[in-house]
């Protein structure tokens, strides 16, 4: 009976068998994208990808959003879950479970993509007899996996700086990855994105939800725009170049109505370059848009008008964002989607006081026709998250030009900015002149256009206003008037748990 000891799984498939059938490849690829959207193999929760934290909390997009928004003037959250208040108080430590979860999600994406890239080399495809269209598709999938890995590593560069480094050549096992410098990782990601450019689908030629060449260009433009922060060397000309590639592909166009970009049927938008997709019945999670729609609703807001069964009364904004609008009423600049009835502009209490701070009505689970999303229970939205969209590329172009990047010009930059303002003001009344187009204006315009879309922390750091006293917002650093915090907080600490597990790692300065 000794052979009875060689039991094999009944429903799970082994790695050896999964790659024999080319039909499985797209399902593995779907998982790589799903890392951003859902928290595990059961929706909304169950069989989580990572452990040690509440599953809904740990969702990639939810964590990324929190790290980028709760640390800034754009958002406060009223929940005292674990170390969550540390984000806005800017006193996080290396044991912060949310920072740890963000880091773990990034490296989950890295190892999951590595596995797929390792199993889809040309040699392996040939060895398994996969040829023709199946092989061509597999190569495109592989390029997308490399894109997703580059995306995750870009988040690592931005959030953590110098991190462990593994590629497809590092097989799964018990080992301690080496640490790579922030600049070195920048070069790796840059090289990767350029290497896969041609293997990816042409702009807007891929199926909705999948990354195409324009997504890779947008990511490159982002990297270059922040290169000064990441590497100490400015790369604004490269930023202009890649923003231009996206814009000049003419595959993407601004939607007519700003507010409809964030609704349950935004999957039809031509403005979104790369979404994270959600669906009320088929892509369920307690993170992602479920969090973003529910947590923003409370007080006198009617959940029904958001297409959900209830609010979670957590997220509001500070007057830092409100004041960036000349008219926060929404009557002129239609991007000012604030809910003020029963809400105080001033924040006296962050925790459990939803009334303090204006609420934001940007993300909703209703369609542009006013119908609720597909989940009859009203829990899980259909709304997709716009990770990259054209408006961001316009603003990146304008900023890179203003910062001295060549290959573009200020007049075009002004045109792009005014395109956004014409949409916002539903006419030209909000247009600005060339003299008004300053770097400060762009930072402020990015807030108005892109608030709550996960850009703010990176933007403030690039402008030197994240930790400094030059810009304060309510409860920055945990005090009502706001205060400067230590400059080392422009990157998060490496999680204490990984420093123990991997002695090759050196903690970021200051932590």
């Amino acid at each position: 009976c000794l052979q009875d000891l060689d039991r094999q799984p009944v429903y799970d498939v082994t790695s050896a068998s999964v790659y024999k059938d080319p039909a499985n490849y797209k399902q593995v690829l779907a998982k790589l994208y799903a890392v951003l959207a859902v928290s595990g193999q059961q929706g909304p929760a169950g069989k989580p990808d990572i452990a040690g934290i509440d599953e809904g909390f740990s969702n990639y997009l939810r964590q990324y959003w929190k790290a980028q928004e709760l640390t800034t003037d754009e958002a406060v959250i009223g929940w005292n879950d674990g170390s969550l208040p540390d984000y806005h108080n800017m006193n996080w430590s290396s044991s912060n479970e949310f920072i740890t979860a963000m880091y773990n999600r990034i490296f989950y994406m890295v190892t999951a993509t590595n596995e797929f890239i390792r199993e889809t080399t040309d040699a392996k495809l040939a060895e398994r007899g996969i040829t023709g269209q199946a092989a061509t598709d597999a190569r495109t999938f592989r390029a997308e996996a490399r894109f997703l890995r580059a995306l995750a590593y870009t988040h690592a560069i931005d959030l953590f700086g110098s991190v462990p480094f593994v590629t497809e050549t590092d097989a799964v096992g018990s080992f301690q990855p080496r640490q790579i410098s922030r600049a070195e990782l920048f070069t790796y990601v840059e090289t990767e994105l350029k290497a896969i450019e041609e293997e990816m689908a042409a702009p807007r030629a891929a199926e909705y939800g999948r990354a195409d060449r324009a997504a890779a260009w947008t990511l490159l433009a982002k990297l270059y725009l922040n290169a000064q922060v990441y590497t100490g060397t400015a790369r604004y000309t490269d930023a202009v170049t890649y923003a231009n590639k996206v814009i000049q592909s003419n595959a993407y166009a601004l939607d007519a109505d700003y507010s409809k970009l964030f609704l349950a049927d935004n999957g039809s938008s031509r403005e979104i370059i790369l979404p994270v997709t959600f669906d009320g019945t088929r892509t369920k999670t307690y993170g992602g848009m479920t969090f973003l729609v529910h947590a923003a609703v409370g007080g006198k807001m009617s959940p029904t008008s958001f297409g959900i069964n209830s609010g979670w009364a957590g997220l509001r904004t500070t007057k830092g964002l409100v004041d960036s609008f000349a008219d926060p009423s929404g009557r002129t600049d239609t991007r000012a989607l604030f809910f003020t009835d029963g809400q105080n502009l001033e924040i006296n209490e962050v925790l459990n006081k939803f009334e303090d701070g204006y609420a934001i009505t940007k993300f909703k689970n209703v369609t542009s026709a006013g119908q609720p999303g597909s989940d009859v229970e009203g829990n899980f939205p259909d709304t997709d998250f716009p990770l990259f969209r054209l408006a961001d590329v316009y603003l990146m172009y304008a900023e890179a030009v203003l910062r001295g990047g060549t290959g573009g010009d200020a007049a075009t930059a002004l045109t792009y900015v005014n395109l956004l303002r014409q949409r916002a003001y539903k006419g030209t009344t909000g247009n600005i002149t060339a003299t008004a187009l300053t770097l400060d204006f762009i930072l402020s315009e990015r807030a108005r256009e892109l608030y709550w879309e996960g850009h703010r922390r990176t933007d403030l750091i690039r402008y030197g206003r994240f930790t400094e006293a030059t810009y304060l917002w309510p409860f920055k650093g945990g005090v009502k008037a706001g205060r400067a915090v230590e400059s080392f907080r422009t990157v998060f600490p490496l999680p204490a748990a990984d420093l123990i597990a991997n002695p090759n790692l050196k903690q970021n300065t200051g932590y």
């Binding site: 000891l5 799984p9 990572i50 430590s93 096992g173 990855p177 369920k284 959940p303 029904t304 748990a497």
Partner: protein, 972 residues
């Protein structure tokens, strides 16, 4: 043609002794005495001798001669170490034991409304901590033998029922591996505590072994019928303190805004009164024992119906057993067939009602006066009139509008052939074939108009599980007395094969009217196999010195071929010092024995939820609800799973040294055991270096854990005379538990692994596994108090990282410190039984010292923010808020970690034995009446409802009721 013999067996003080085995010498024919000490044996050959034996008494052999009545008085056995004890794969003479083995038989069991077998021995065994279940009907206890030896793998002991080691993963609807056995069928309950005793079970024995033997018929038994009935009343002892309706109005008046104040109602509802009830239960048993020709048998049937004090909860069990013990070839072949079956029907009440009853606004009425939502008052969204899904649901509505039913069926059976070789009677071959099959089916129904699931149109869902476990074991045993060299050898060698299959199909979730709401997920099926070779040698010299050695080689399919085999050796030595000539003169000392043992045991049980293939690279298909969209299509995803190809056994090395003693003809007896258990290569879930595996935490072999302790037992018989008898027993155990390593790369700054999720917020945890500290230590901030002793909200001692005392001016998670643990440092049991003629009385007191409890009820309901919110409803909370004045919940304050030391009277019982109530010739009928009170009182400083919380986080435990029972036993 023999004669019919009758007689009565009494103790030295004249009290009749029931349960004495009466055997015709040289045969397997015999019987047991009835409740009045009488017995009858038919067809006894002339010239026979009878052997009378009873645990704790000196056996007596009596020549029958030409008598027809033989009355006997059995004396207490100062050398009660004579008896035979069940050990793994056979039995041993107690005096030859080298390991720490405690055995309890039926007459010492706890009495009263006992649903699960382990409750029979609660408080009676040193080193064995049995945390009783919550008040949920049919709940199972948590059993820990000498502390838990594992961190993430199971800490449950191995359970062996009539020789069949059973699976200790629970089937849903059954509380633990023992829960489907009718306690009334159990004859002995034996615990193998140390490694030298347990190592014969090798890889599954790291947490000790519980051997259960069930009652059986004996050769020559007369037909005996025994029936019993027990009726019980269960009552809630205390309610969770909450604000009264008037106090609540005051608080909302002071802290609420206009909208929140407008929500106040005019009712005065005590929601806890609404959800609890006084519950009746009944337990009925019947058994028939006898022998038809060469076929001794016992058949039993039990029916238990237990209502819970939480309305609607109910537990119903039908159990039956059949045992046949035929003997063939002049007793050379003994066959034992055991068949046990049970069916459990559970009605689970929604325990969410317990928390809801604490939190529900007391100014609101129970019923709304409307027809909607079942007539129950519910918080609604004013815009839509639909239930506010964030609000607390009506507690009574939760109970009345949800039907959660589970039926569990289980059958355990085995046939054991024991053949004594004709040409070599010292050699026995034993073959044991067993099975353990169980299945569970459940349904949940919530009507469409219930607020709980209103938005989705109610709920109709089902679930199912099956377990299919098989056992084949074979061993040879050779026993020989070598009188010429004053030696005795007892050698066993065997083979064991076990196979476990678990299946669980997946069903779609439907709405109340049968429409599909969520499609079925991926079904679950997993299988693993265990294989072992084992041997044991026992050598006794001059009845004084005994050496035992065991060796087991185990393999499991859960690990890779390179790591799946493990060796598990043990050795033990015992010295009967009393037998030495230098102690012959010590008359007061009736026994003295030294035992020393060492052994290695293993663990391969994985944390629940983990697959049985943790070493294989696998891909898992996602459910239909976790798909990803490309274009207009949704794709079920395939996820590469993290794995550890080198996973292997967890190993526990244990050392035990003990002294067994007895004085004054055994009127004082007991033992002292000192032990140390060190577990290495712990199966622990720890963070992996980021980037090295396909997950962030993995189950791997890492770290060490240590348990050491002392157990002391004393049993005394201070009063013993013609009418009175008093037995008093006491046991105390000190156990110290510490994690000694928990990382692949040893590091002094290891922050540890957070565990211990609480209710309140999301994902909050208050416990941690850290090197140098006990498992599940609390990880909290050190509260700062003002001069009047009131805790200051959010003000904590700034300790700095790793407990340094110099802070950095900021309070972050690094300022949390390790404060106490949920593990009791000392636990004790105190039992007494007194008889006066036909009257008897007894009690069991049980206590823990040094177990800390996190009062999650206070931390979660004890802040002003609990009362009002921005979500359109108000909620009640703990009056503790009036003491602390906390505005926001301070979940991580050590203020909520309380000393949970307690002393509980588990059981107080009275009995009256009428003796023979009918005197028809040959048809004696005995009647015994009893009354029992369980959970009589608890003495503790803990401020919550009940300090005895498995895991140490007290969060709306289903309250343990006080149970008063009256019972009747009839034998004829």
């Amino acid at each position: 043609q023999g004669v019919t013999l009758t007689g009565v067996v009494k103790e030295a003080d004249g009290v009749p002794l029931p349960g004495v085995t009466v055997q015709v010498k040289g045969t397997n024919r015999g019987t047991q005495t009835n409740a009045d000490g009488s017995y009858q044996l038919t067809n006894v050959p002339a010239g026979s001798a009878l052997i009378f034996s009873f645990i704790g008494k000196t056996p007596q052999e009596v020549l029958v001669g030409n008598r027809t009545a033989v009355d006997v008085v059995l004396a207490d056995d100062s050398k009660s170490l004579q008896e035979v004890v069940v050990v793994g794969y056979g039995t041993q003479r107690r005096k030859d034991l080298t390991g720490a083995i405690t055995s309890i038989s039926a007459e010492e069991f706890q009495k009263g409304n006992i649903v699960n077998p382990e409750q029979l021995v609660a408080g009676k065994l040193a080193g064995v901590s049995i945390t009783p279940p919550s008040g949920q009907p049919g709940g199972g206890s948590t059993i820990r033998i000498r502390g838990g030896s594992s961190l993430n793998a199971s800490n449950d002991p191995l359970v062996v029922i009539d020789g069949v080691p059973v699976d200790n993963t629970n089937i849903s609807g059954a509380s633990n591996a023992l829960s489907l056995i009718n306690p009334q069928d159990i004859e002995t309950f034996t615990v193998l505590k140390d490694a030298s005793a347990a190592a014969i079970y090798g890889a599954r024995a790291a947490n000790g072994v519980i051997l259960i033997t069930t009652k059986k018929g004996r050769q020559g038994d007369q037909l005996r019928v025994s029936v019993s009935a027990l009726g019980s009343v269960s009552q809630l002892v205390n309610q969770v303190p909450v604000l009264s309706a008037d106090q609540f109005r005051d608080v909302i008046g002071q802290t609420g805004n206009a909208a929140q104040q407008a929500l106040l109602g005019t009712a005065n509802t005590n929601w806890q009164d609404q959800i609890y009830q006084t519950a009746l239960s009944g337990d009925y048993n019947a058994s028939v024992t006898g022998s038809v020709k060469n076929m001794p048998f016992r058949a039993s049937f039990g029916y238990l119906n237990q209502n819970g004090i939480l309305k609607t909860s109910n537990f119903e069990r039908f159990s039956g057993s059949l045992g046949l013990s035929p003997r063939f070839f002049n007793n050379h072949l003994r066959v034992d067939v055991n068949l046990k079956g049970s069916i459990i029907n559970n009605v689970f009440a929604d325990q969410g009602a317990i928390g809801a009853a604490v939190a529900f606004d007391p100014t609101q009425p129970v019923y709304s006066g409307q027809d909607t939502y079942g007539g129950f008052f519910e918080w609604l969204d004013p815009a839509t009139g639909r239930p506010n899904t964030q609000a607390t649901r009506n507690p009574l509505g939760l109970l009345m509008q949800k039907q959660d039913l589970t039926t569990v069926k289980r059958s355990i059976g085995n046939v054991q052939f024991d053949y004594k070789f004709h040409f070599l009677p010292e050699l026995r071959a034993n073959l044991n074939l067993g099975y353990d099959l169980s299945s569970s089916t459940g349904t949940i129904f919530v009507p469409a108009d219930a607020a709980l699931q209103f938005n989705r149109g109610g709920q109709s869902s089902q679930s199912a599980q099956t377990r299919d476990n098989k056992t084949l074991e074979f061993y040879l045993n050779y026993v020989k007395d070598l009188r010429s060299v004053s030696s005795r050898v007892d050698v066993t060698a065997g083979y064991s094969y076990q196979d476990f299959i678990r299946k669980s199909p997946s069903f779609p979730e439907l709405t109340a009217n049968g429409t599909e709401f969520t499609p079925a997920g991926v079904p679950f099926e997993t299988q693993y196999t265990l294989l072992a070779f084992f041997g044991r040698a026992n050598y006794t010299f001059k009845d004084r010195y005994t050496l035992t050695a065991t060796l087991r080689r185990d393999a499991t399919s859960r690990f890779s071929p390179e790591t799946r085999w493990g060796w598990f050796p043990s050795a033990g030595f015992a010295w009967n010092i009393k037998e030495e000539s230098f102690l012959q003169g010590a008359k007061a000392l009736s026994a003295l024995k030294l035992r020393i043992g060492y052994g290695v045991t293993g663990q391969q049980d994985l944390p629940s939820g983990l697959s049985d293939y943790p070493y294989l690279p696998r891909y898992t298909l996602s459910d239909l609800t976790a798909q990803y969209q490309f274009g207009n299509s949704f794709y079920r995803t395939l996820r590469a799973e993290g794995y550890d190809a080198n996973l292997k056994w967890e190993e526990t090395q244990a050392l035990n040294a003990a002294i067994d003693y007895a004085f004054f003809d055994g009127r004082i007896s007991g033992s002292i055991d000192v032990y140390q258990k060190t577990t290495k290569d712990l199966l622990a879930t720890i963070p992996v270096p980021a980037g090295s595996n396909l997950t962030n935490q993995i189950l791997t072999n890492v770290g060490n854990l240590e348990n050491k302790g002392v157990e002391f037992t004393i049993n005394t018989n201070p009063v013993r005379n013609e009418r009175h008898n008093l037995d008093v027993g006491f046991n105390i155990t000190y156990n110290q538990n510490k994690i000694t390593n928990l990382s692949k790369v040893p590091s002094p700054n290891d922050p540890g692994v957070l565990v211990g999720g609480i209710t309140g917020g999301t994902g909050n945890t208050v416990q941690i596994q850290t090197v140098g500290f006990p498992t599940n230590s609390f990880f909290v901030y050190q509260q700062v108090y003002d001069a009047s002793g009131k805790p200051l909200e959010g003000v904590y001692v700034d300790r700095g990282r790793n407990g340094e005392t110099t802070g950095d001016g900021k309070i972050t998670i690094d300022d949390r410190y390790r404060y106490q643990s949920a593990n009791p440092k000392i636990f004790l049991g105190f039992t007494s039984q007194y008889t006066y003629g036909k009257f008897s009385a007894g009690f069991v007191l049980r206590g823990n010292i040094g177990n800390y409890v996190y009062n999650n009820v206070r931390s979660n309901y004890g802040a002003y923010r609990n009362f009002t919110n921005a979500l359109g409803f108000n909620a009640n909370g703990s009056p503790n808020v009036l003491e602390t004045g906390f505005v926001n919940n301070q979940y991580f304050s050590d203020y909520y970690v309380e000393n949970g030391s307690f002393l509980r009277m588990d059981n107080f019982n009275l009995g009256y034995n009428f003796g023979k109530v009918s005197n028809r010739p040959g048809k004696g009928m005995n009647l015994r009446l009893s009354a029992t009170a369980q959970n009589v009182f608890v003495i503790t400083n803990y401020t919550g409802l009940d300090p005895e919380v498995s895991g140490g986080i007290d969060n709306n435990l289903y309250p343990r009721p006080r149970i008063i029972s009256a019972g009747l036993n009839l034998d004829f």
